[in-house]
């Protein structure tokens, strides 16, 4: 992975750590998805989505993977 994708994976996992507090994982995933859509630049979103499609989201937490999979770039 490039250093930039490493950064994005770390950012995504940090976000998932917050939303993971919700016992309702559907709410957690939607919360995380919305957060990324509302705060990440398009090129960052494209890169993390590509990381899922090309590298099966290596390094991403399960919640992060679920949430990002719901984003359409």
């Amino acid at each position: 992975m490039s250093s930039n994708i490493n950064t994005l994976v770390k950012m995504a996992n940090d976000i998932s750590n917050f939303f993971n507090a919700d016992p309702d994982k559907e709410v957690a995933a939607e919360g995380m998805r919305n957060h990324i859509v509302k705060s990440w630049d398009l090129r960052m979103r494209k890169a993390i989505i590509a990381h899922i499609t090309q590298h099966d989201g290596e390094g991403l937490s399960p919640l992060a993977k679920t949430a990002i999979s719901r984003i359409s770039a």
């Binding site: 490039s2 930039n4 950064t7 917050f18 507090a21 630049d41």
Partner: protein, 948 residues
């Protein structure tokens, strides 16, 4: 324009609502109960002679000049210490009173140098005025001993203490106690030997004096006098403006001689500072005319080249052509801009407008990214608005004050003094901080609890406080049911009641004894009015936003919102952090915190700005750096911000700046970022332009031009020129027009105008319409969320990834100091260096001893990100295992060590937690050697410009 001295009523205003009517010299006067006779007389224009009385401190009754006669009363009471009563009849002037006053003045003058014509206070001396007022014509006394040869104390760089002119009125001593709360001054000795003494008979600089200037302000003679007045004479006109340092936003009178600032005098009518000041705002304004100011635009093709001074037209044209070239080569989103909290609201507004409308993207960010962006996020989510809830004066109604991660007496000293005043009146204090900051224990102030937690464990600690409140039935259910989203509360209740959040379970995480956490929680929850104040010790963590949310949860659960004396109060770092965020300088929000994808808002701005706008969030500052190293972000316009010093993991920042093809810096000095720049646009200091700043209590205050811009243009004019050169027209003729546009497009600013600000002095948003005079306290009826209800959120503690281990066993945390400000670009160019000439590493004596380190030794501080070297300061202010430094000097390289860890929601850097090892060394670090060589070379390239 004139100097128009502010009226002194002699004694403080009474806040009583009971009114009393009396008669003074035959005139009826009605005033609040508790008002002094002196003040009541002054309110109808009868000025009773006085020396020891001034309306900033409580009356003392020592000079006997203000004596009056009261019908039916005995003797001649001092009018300053005599309260009015119903039906009272007072005579302020008759022969008997005149004789007494003249006799008093004779005694004063018999031990006073008669050098009025050459005295620095000539024309501004109350003793001189009173001699005239009482008709003193001769002095019959020839004392055998006097104080006329007493030695001057010139140790303070900003003011001189000349005891030969002292009348021992104690105004300075009382100002130090009551206004500032430092208690550095006293009257030493008795009778003839009485004298004002700093500390234990020390010089002012050796004493605890913090150089706030309150004593100078209170002195009625030339005893305590600004050095600038001694050197230049008295000012001839004054203009009210707002300080450009911290988020308190003190109002000042810039007292001028022509275009020269003679002194900055705190404005008694200032609603944030009530006539008080600190060493920065009061005295450290000399940077504005420092020889390092750059006043000519400059350009260069490469940062290896010498700078070339050019005309404004050429500089702007070059900058615009470079930005266009980069967009043509790398795409529309390949450029962006960074604004600063040091800019005015109007400057920030048109900067983000230029980027959104002129650049065509949303790549705009501000330095709030690295300080209070978690406040914006956390409070928006829970309360519905990205701001604190109270005004500063609210603290005077607080019964329990909970400070979390804020060194209030150093970071926000004027508000710190107000808070200390409330604490001296009896309010209780809880401090949550890894360090023993000053307010934990100082004269007449002592915290009930100092929860000395391990850095990075804020969430665990505040969750534990909330757990106690829930498990001990201390929740304000009435408030929660009426004002909050009950479903979210119930979910939170289940979450926080879990045993894993109990003080006992989290003690091993926080390092704070469970019993202390329980007791502190009870104290806060059972207070009639409990208020929370917090600072960067909350936000600059990987869980910064989570901690802000825990604080909001805590305040809602205890009903401490929506009235005087309570609230959630973020203490903003810089002067215009609140304003720069309000003005839309975050990449995902238009002005007023509305998301760029919100269809109605987006459409409104497109219509107003007459252009297509992106509805995609842009890059945040750290993302800009990453994108630069990926060759997708190649041009930056940076105004008033020094990212090359202030941002974390500085080697990464420098690499990103080197990778960019055009860096435009607009600043007053060749700051660290400008050393990586290709275009330098010389900006204006706060003294050289009009505008507004918004302080930590949402107070919009006027910034007024007191001198012409040294480089010819105010910053808003420069941004406008660049916008026009880029093809997006802007035609403002005055910042008031920019504010009018802000008001027309931002609901919370709809009723704001320069006219209203001028009439009221300042105004706190929200201000929804023309009739509104602002909102001191928010959420009084309902929260600003769509449904009006406060939202509880779940806040799981997640340990930082920045872990200590055998290789990096200590935690470094960073902070600020009273005398220096932020990256130091301003204060390092003033005499404030007399207090703090270098950043030092505070280390506990146990850790120092383990490493053979003595006070003053060079120590290497090594983290996973880098290494730097500082002098050691061995102290027990920090706990074992924790070291601390400030970041005011670029050569210190504090941000060489800090990592790229950041807050999960906002990417605010985790400045407060870096695992390090500290060792004794004999020389500076490799980075520091490299920095010095690079910096020296850049200064040479600058010198070549001025010589070319």
């Amino acid at each position: 324009m004139s100097i128009d001295k502010q009226k002194d009523y002699g004694t403080p205003i009474s806040t009583s609502t009971d009114m009393v009517t009396l008669e003074i010299d035959g005139f009826k006067v009605t005033a609040p109960a508790g008002t002094s006779v002196m003040r009541a007389a002054s309110s109808i224009g009868i000025e009773i002679p006085k020396l020891c009385a001034t309306d900033s401190v409580e009356p003392f009754g020592s000079c006997r000049l203000c004596v009056v006669q009261v019908e039916g009363g005995r003797g001649l009471p001092a009018s300053c210490t005599t309260p009015i009563w119903e039906g009272m009849k007072v005579v302020t002037q008759n022969q008997k009173l005149a004789d007494v006053r003249r006799g008093v003045m004779e005694l004063y003058i018999s031990d006073h140098p008669l050098d009025c014509l050459t005295c620095s206070a000539n024309g501004d001396c109350e003793l001189q005025d009173m001699a005239g007022a009482v008709g003193l014509r001769e002095v019959r006394y020839r004392p055998v001993a006097t104080h006329l040869n007493a030695t001057k104390d010139t140790t303070n760089p900003y003011f001189t203490f000349d005891p030969s002119k002292c009348i021992v009125c104690s105004r300075c001593v009382r100002a130090c106690e009551e206004t500032q709360g430092t208690f550095a001054l006293t009257i030493d000795g008795r009778g003839f030997d009485s004298k004002v003494s700093a500390g234990q008979n020390e010089s002012f600089m050796e004493s605890e004096c913090v150089s706030c200037g309150a004593c100078v302000q209170a002195c009625p003679t030339a005893t305590l006098m600004e050095t600038s007045v001694i050197e230049n004479g008295l000012p001839e006109h004054a203009i009210v403006t707002t300080c450009a340092y911290c988020g308190v936003g003190c109002s000042f009178r810039a007292e001028m001689k022509g275009e020269q600032v003679i002194r900055m005098v705190p404005n008694k009518d200032g609603k944030a500072n009530h006539g008080h000041s600190c060493v920065k705002g009061r005295f450290a304004f000399g940077y504005a005319t420092h020889k390092d100011r750059i006043t000519k635009p400059m350009i260069r093709a490469s940062i290896e080249d010498a700078w070339k001074e050019v005309s404004w037209e050429e500089a702007i044209s070059y900058a615009a052509s470079e930005m266009k070239r980069i967009q043509a080569k790398y795409g529309k989103d390949s450029i962006g801009g960074i604004t600063s909290s040091r800019c005015t609201n109007e400057e920030v507004y048109i900067m983000q407008k230029l980027i959104r409308a002129g650049f065509g993207n949303n790549n705009v960010d501000t330095c709030a990214r690295v300080c209070h962006s978690p406040t914006g996020y956390g409070l928006k989510q829970t309360f519905g608005e990205s701001s604190g809830t109270q005004d500063f004066d609210s603290v005077m109604k607080s019964d329990v004050i909970l400070i979390i991660g804020a060194n209030v007496t150093d970071g926000h000293p004027v508000f710190g003094s107000q808070m200390k005043k409330r604490l001296r009146q009896g309010a209780k204090l809880i401090v949550v901080d890894p360090r023993e900051i000053d307010i934990v224990k100082m004269p007449h102030v002592e915290a009930s609890y100092h929860l000395k937690l391990r850095p990075s464990t804020n969430v665990a600690l505040v969750n534990a406080l909330a757990h106690v409140i829930v498990s001990e039935n201390l929740v304000d259910e009435e408030f929660v049911n009426a004002r909050c989203d009950v479903a979210s509360f119930n979910k939170w209740l289940t979450f926080i009641a879990d045993e894993r959040h109990s003080p006992e379970a989290t003690e091993s995480i926080t390092g704070v004894p469970a019993a202390e956490m329980r007791a502190a929680a009870r104290l806060y929850a059972t207070a009639e009015n409990g208020a929370i104040y917090y600072g960067l010790g909350v936000t600059e963590h990987s869980q910064g936003s989570t901690t802000v949310i825990t604080i909001a949860n805590l305040a809602m659960a205890t009903g401490n919102l929506g009235r005087d004396g309570v609230g959630v109060n973020p203490l903003r770092g810089q002067n215009n952090v609140q304003g720069s965020c309000d003005m839309g300088s975050f990449p995902h929000e238009f002005p007023g915190y509305r998301h760029v994808s919100d269809a109605d808002t987006h459409s409104m701005f497109e219509n107003a700005w007459q252009t297509n706008l992106s509805n995609e969030p842009g890059l945040r500052i750290p993302n800009m750096f990453d994108a630069a190293l990926d060759n997708s972000f190649m041009g930056l316009y940076c105004e008033g911000e020094d990212i090359a010093q202030s941002d974390p993991d500085i080697k990464h920042v420098h690499a990103a700046l080197r990778a960019m093809e055009c860096v435009i810096v607009q600043d007053i000095f060749l700051n660290e970022t400008a050393k990586f720049a290709h275009v330098f646009l010389p900006g204006a200091s706060f003294l050289e332009k009009d505008g507004t700043f918004t302080n930590a209590e949402r107070r919009i205050s006027p910034v007024r031009k007191v001198m012409r811009p040294l480089a010819g243009y105010a910053d808003w004019e420069i941004t406008q020129m660049l916008s026009n050169a880029l093809g997006y027209p802007m035609n403002y003729t005055h910042p008031s027009e920019i504010m009018d546009e802000i008001a027309s497009l931002t609901p919370t600013f709809n009723g704001v105008s320069y006219e209203k600000i001028d009439n009221l002095g300042s105004i706190q948003w929200p201000c929804y319409d023309e009739e509104s005079e602002g909102t001191p306290i928010m959420h009084t009826e309902e929260f600003m969320r769509n449904n009006g209800k406060g939202l509880f959120m779940l806040t799981e503690f997640v340990a930082t990834q920045e872990r200590v281990n055998g290789k990096f066993p200590l935690i470094l945390t960073t902070g600020r100091i009273l005398s220096q400000y932020n990256v130091g670009a301003q204060t390092r160019r003033t005499e404030n260096n007399a207090w703090h000439l270098e950043d030092r590493l505070e280390i506990h004596s146990h850790d120092a001893e383990d490493r053979g380190i003595k006070d003053g030794d060079w120590v290497g501080i090594k983290s996973r990100a880098g290494e730097t070297v500082l002098h050691a300061l061995v102290t027990d202010r920090v706990q074992p295992g924790v070291v601390f430094t400030t970041f005011h000097f670029p050569e210190s390289g504090a941000n060489v060590i800090t990592t790229d860890n950041s807050d999960w929601a906002t990417n605010c850097p985790e400045y407060k937690v870096t695992a390090v090892q500290v060792t004794k060394v004999s020389q500076t670090s490799e980075w520091q050697e490299g920095y010095r060589a690079f910096s020296d070379n850049q200064l040479d390239l600058l010198a070549q410009a001025s010589h070319g």
